[in-house]
């Protein structure tokens, strides 16, 4: 059962990584990076490392995704002219 879950998670991580690299939109790249973090956190949990899993879920999937999105908003605003 754990093997099945882990395999699914690994497939999710690899798919998320490919989407993050090849996506045209920066926003979907960032979201799929958050997805990768979520999968990695689940994998850590199955590999008996719950401490790292909690940290990865809180920082990788939560905060860093939000900060990336804020940064993308800021960069796009600076790149284009005053038009929103």
């Amino acid at each position: 059962m754990i093997t099945l879950f882990s395999t699914l998670l690994v497939i999710l991580i690899i798919a998320g990584g490919f989407v993050a690299i090849f996506s045209k939109k920066l926003l979907s790249s960032v979201i799929s990076m958050g997805l990768v973090s979520l999968g990695v956190s689940g994998l850590f949990f199955f590999l008996q490392a719950p401490d790292v899993a909690i940290t990865e879920a809180a920082i990788g999937a939560g905060l860093s995704t939000a900060i990336f999105i804020i940064a993308i908003k800021k960069v796009q605003k600076g790149g284009t002219s005053d038009d929103e």
């Binding site: 401490d51 899993a53 939560g62 905060l63 605003k77």
Partner: protein
């Protein structure tokens, strides 16, 4: 000032710097002195030397821990199994082994880790500080449901974050994840209301005080136990909330520090973004 120095001095100085670099580069190829061989069997548990969980579990189940075929480790220390909720006055006393290593045995390492996070946050604040907030006109306000919902969710998230770092010595988690959870709750508050702004000086004071508390706890250990960040409190019964000495105290300090630091970083980023 630098332009007045003659060319010759500059050249000599450059050759000197390059020479030091070359010497340092070739020092990497010199042979390292051989350290004295240490017999690990005499210093650590056999379970560590073995590195085979199945074998260790089997030996514990069969009670063949002191097999005659194997050389007994530490004859002076008899093996006593540690029972959750019963064993008292252990060396460390934390039910969570990771925490006992991170905070107790490698406490100075964790102080460095907190310092690294503090420097990163200082860099972000240095770059993004001093932006004035203008509430944009075009944006639509979040709805009342969003406003009330994020506030209720923030209370629950804050409670969970505090739970994670107070129970760091019992359950998985600790100060860093607890602080990050609290910071993500504050991020939710930003989403709920346009122009929300936390008490900035309050965050700064909170962060400084908790960072100082960590060092003060270390200095108390230095005075009481003759070593910086030494455990100066009784360790109690394993599995109790009031056990494992000062681990809970340090994790409360770390959790408050990380939470306020990451909230301040998020605050700086968002205020800068909304400024036109």
């Amino acid at each position: 000032m630098m332009n007045d120095t003659p060319e010759m001095v500059k050249k000599v100085f450059a050759i000197f710097v390059v020479g030091i670099l070359i010497v340092g580069f070739f020092m990497a190829f010199t042979q390292m002195p051989k350290a004295n061989a240490v017999n690990v069997n005499n210093t650590v548990s056999r379970f560590y030397v073995m590195k085979d969980v199945d074998q260790a579990t089997e030996m514990l189940d069969k009670g063949t821990y002191f097999n005659k075929d194997m050389v007994p480790l530490r004859n002076d220390v008899p093996y006593t199994p540690i029972t959750f909720g019963k064993s008292a006055n252990l060396e460390d006393g934390a039910a969570n082994v990771v925490t006992s290593i991170v905070v107790d045995y490698r406490g100075f390492d964790t102080l460095g880790e907190v310092t690294v996070l503090f420097l990163a946050a200082s860099g972000v604040m240095l770059v993004l500080h001093g932006q004035k907030r203008k509430i944009p006109k075009k944006r639509t306000e979040p709805s009342e449901i969003m406003y009330v919902g994020t506030r209720i969710a923030f209370a629950v998230i804050l409670l969970f974050g505090i739970y994670v770092f107070i129970h760091g010595h019992l359950t998985p988690g600790g100060g860093f994840p607890g602080g990050a959870i609290i910071a993500s709750g504050i991020l939710g508050l930003f989403l709920g209301k346009q122009g929300y702004s936390p008490n900035k000086s309050g965050l700064t004071i909170f962060e400084s005080l908790s960072g100082m508390a960590y060092v003060v706890i270390g200095i108390i250990g230095l005075i009481g136990e003759k070593s910086f960040l030494a455990n100066f409190l009784p360790t109690g019964t394993i599995g109790d909330l009031f056990s494992a000495g000062f681990i809970a105290l340090i994790y409360i300090a770390i959790g408050m520090k990380v939470g306020s630091e990451l909230s301040a970083v998020t605050n700086a980023m968002i205020i800068d973004t909304e400024d036109d």
